[in-house]
């Protein structure tokens, strides 16, 4: 037995299996979203800001030109995880009836293997060929982190390539729009924040009470449920993100299913199921606010995160 182990160990060490990242291109999703701002519950202030800085300059450029303002620049959405940044980006694309290219973390990771800069260029090129197009870069901090912190040459190359592509957008590549999203805007390279790049910074906060109620209703839709007081649950889920609420509903569904298997009859989701699930969960956004508050207090030279401090104060976040 020990001989066998030794032999297999030796074989394992000599095993050389070549593997290529076949999914490299499929990691970047492309489609035409049907969602618009009407589908985004709440976030009125955020929508107003995006409309004013991003959508109206494209729909009515003459008015903005008259006031000496030009369309352009890109949008950076930041805030706690699971609060609908991706959905909002899709809604922006839907509002301007544009194609939508979604670059996720796995796609960014794959860009670090091999010809990274060319891959990023390919994505932008694809967007230019499919105008109007919104490129949505999720977890932008992974692609555009501070170059000072980077030890690897290839990492800096990718940020440089991103900067080049963004500047390219300004010089003639109209109808291609870039939206970045990040939970950690403080890790971004400061060069990305210069005019013409990600100069519109928009804070996407956790859903308000009314929005939480809508989210719960949506997540429970089509599922067997007894009479539920969602308003009460919404009031008890202060600072819960959309993802947190989904998790609460999932837990409640599991409880109801367990009862179903025990009794042999379909059991509806009850208020009690949801309350029990709620007790087991904490708002994941709290951790984010603690970090963001530290950055806003000690590291915010330009006052970019003052909005986070104001929000925390208004909502009594400890």
């Amino acid at each position: 037995m020990s001989d066998y182990d030794e032999l297999s160990e030796r074989r394992r060490n000599k095993l050389k299996l070549m593997q290529f990242d076949k999914d490299e291109h499929s990691l970047v999703e492309s489609d035409k979203p049907k969602e618009t701002f009407e589908d985004v519950g709440g976030l009125e202030e955020v929508k107003k800001k995006i409309r004013m800085n991003f959508i109206l300059p494209l729909q009515q450029p003459e008015i903005f030109k008259a006031y000496g303002k030009e369309a352009g620049g890109s949008l950076l959405l930041f805030g706690p995880p699971g609060c609908g940044k991706t959905f909002l980006a899709r809604a922006v694309a839907g509002e301007i009836d544009a194609n939508f290219i979604h670059i996720e973390l796995q796609a960014i990771l794959s860009m670090y293997v091999g010809q990274s800069e060319h891959n990023l260029h390919d994505v932008f090129q694809k967007a230019r060929e499919n105008k109007p197009c919104v490129i949505f870069i999720d977890e932008l901090d992974a692609m555009g982190g501070s170059r000072h912190q980077m030890r690897q040459h290839h990492e800096r190359m990718l940020v440089n390539q991103l900067l080049t592509e963004l500047d390219g957008l300004q010089s003639g590549n109209d109808q291609v729009f870039v939206i970045g999203a990040t939970n950690t805007p403080w890790y971004l390279d400061s060069a990305l924040r210069r005019p013409g790049r990600f100069n519109h910074l928009v804070f996407v906060p956790p859903p308000e009470e009314e929005e939480r109620s809508s989210i719960l209703r949506l997540k429970l839709a089509g599922k067997p449920a007894s009479t539920l007081n969602l308003g009460k649950l919404a009031a008890e889920t202060k600072l819960f993100s959309g993802a947190d609420l989904e998790q609460v509903v999932n837990d409640a569904v599991t409880s109801a299913m367990e009862r179903t298997f025990e009794t042999g009859e379909i059991q509806p989701i009850t208020q009690d199921d949801l309350r029990k699930a709620l007790k087991e969960r904490k708002a994941t956004t709290i951790e984010w606010f603690a970090t963001a508050r530290n950055y806003a207090t000690f590291s915010d030279v330009n006052g970019d995160y003052k909005i986070v401090l104001d929000y925390a104060k208004k909502h009594g976040i400890k």
Binding site: E9, R12, L15, K16, L17, M18, Q19, D21, L105, L109, Y112, V113, E139, D141, A142, G145, H148, Q149, M150, R151, E155, T184, Y187, A290, T291, R293, N294, Y295, T297, F298, S299, V301, K313, K318
Partner: protein, 294 residues
């Protein structure tokens, strides 16, 4: 570890994990490491890597479990020992740390980080000369490491070698002006030399780069207290004391106590007033009239 144990098949997976770690996306890095574990459950590498991520996340209990798993598969695994030593250092388990570092150095005598950790421990105990010896070995192995250069600058300042401390400080800045830990050591070094303005400048840069660490926040707030003349006056005897041996300080205090008892009392009270009043002013300046959340 990368150079020694990676096979082409796993290379992408490990690269992804290290990349995610460099972005501080530890949860995602754990998910990637789990994939590596599933692909090769007999290799100690993913276990040690998992433990390393747990240490970075501050989950020491889990780290202990995974590092044990790694070392069970290879008792002389370099990363496994590196993580075990780091774990004991972080948790303040001094006896276990010394035992582990001895074994780790036997297995991997060229790992400079072990000498650095030992130097830190020795500095804490006031054994500055021994600390200097350790950090010099670390620098022989990695002469351009800014973290090691900065702790050497601090150790030299603790030993009263101000000129050497300044010279080493310049070297450290050349290689790591954007590293918060380097800046914090240099801040301590400057404070030790009595250069309080520089102390504040370094701590300001350090806390901007790493505001999420309480230690950085506390040190920065403390450095801000030096802005106030009254506080600086109270710190003035420190400059004098650091040039004296402990027995000389004791004799001086005893003499002052016997000859100028009321004056010593007055000084202690003044010191307390200066400390708490400047602390309060700094608090309001940074946090406003709200309580600090920790």
């Amino acid at each position: 570890m990368e150079e020694e144990t990676l096979t082409p098949s796993s290379h992408t997976g490990y690269t992804n994990v290290y990349q995610l770690m460099s972005w501080k996306k530890y949860k995602e890095a754990l998910i990637e490491t789990e994939k590596l574990l599933r692909n090769d459950p007999h290799s100690p590498d993913p276990y040690a890597l998992y433990a390393q991520i747990c240490v970075l996340m501050g989950d020491y209990e889990k780290a202990q479990h995974w590092v044990d798993e790694a070392l069970k598969r290879d008792p002389e695994h370099h990363l496994g020992w590196y993580v075990r030593v780091s774990l004991f250092y972080e948790t303040g388990n001094e006896a276990a740390f010394h035992e582990a570092v001895r074994e780790a150095l036997r297995i991997d005598p060229y790992e400079a980080h072990y000498y650095y950790l030992q130097a830190n421990q020795l500095n804490k105990k006031g054994k500055f000369n021994e600390a200097k010896e350790q950090i010099e070995i670390a620098l022989e192995l990695e002469p351009e490491n800014p973290q090691y250069l900065s702790i050497l600058s601090y150790t030299e300042a603790l030993l009263g070698n101000d000129a050497v401390s300044r010279e080493t400080e310049r070297e450290a800045l050349r290689y790591g002006a954007e590293e918060p830990i380097v800046l914090m050591y240099l801040a301590w070094s400057a404070a030790r030399r009595g250069d309080y303005k520089l102390h504040e400048t370094y701590m300001q840069s350090a806390v901007r780069l790493n505001p999420d660490e309480k230690q950085y926040q506390d040190e920065y707030l403390e450095s801000l207290q030096n802005q106030y003349v009254l506080y600086r006056i109270c710190l003035w005897p420190n400059k004098l004391f650091r040039k004296m041996k402990p027995w000389q300080i004791f004799v001086m205090w005893a003499v002052c106590w016997l000859l100028f008892k009321p004056l010593v009392f007055a000084f202690i009270i003044l010191h307390l007033i200066a400390h708490w009043s400047t602390k309060a002013i700094v608090h309001v300046k940074i946090f406003g009239w709200r309580r600090r959340r920790t």
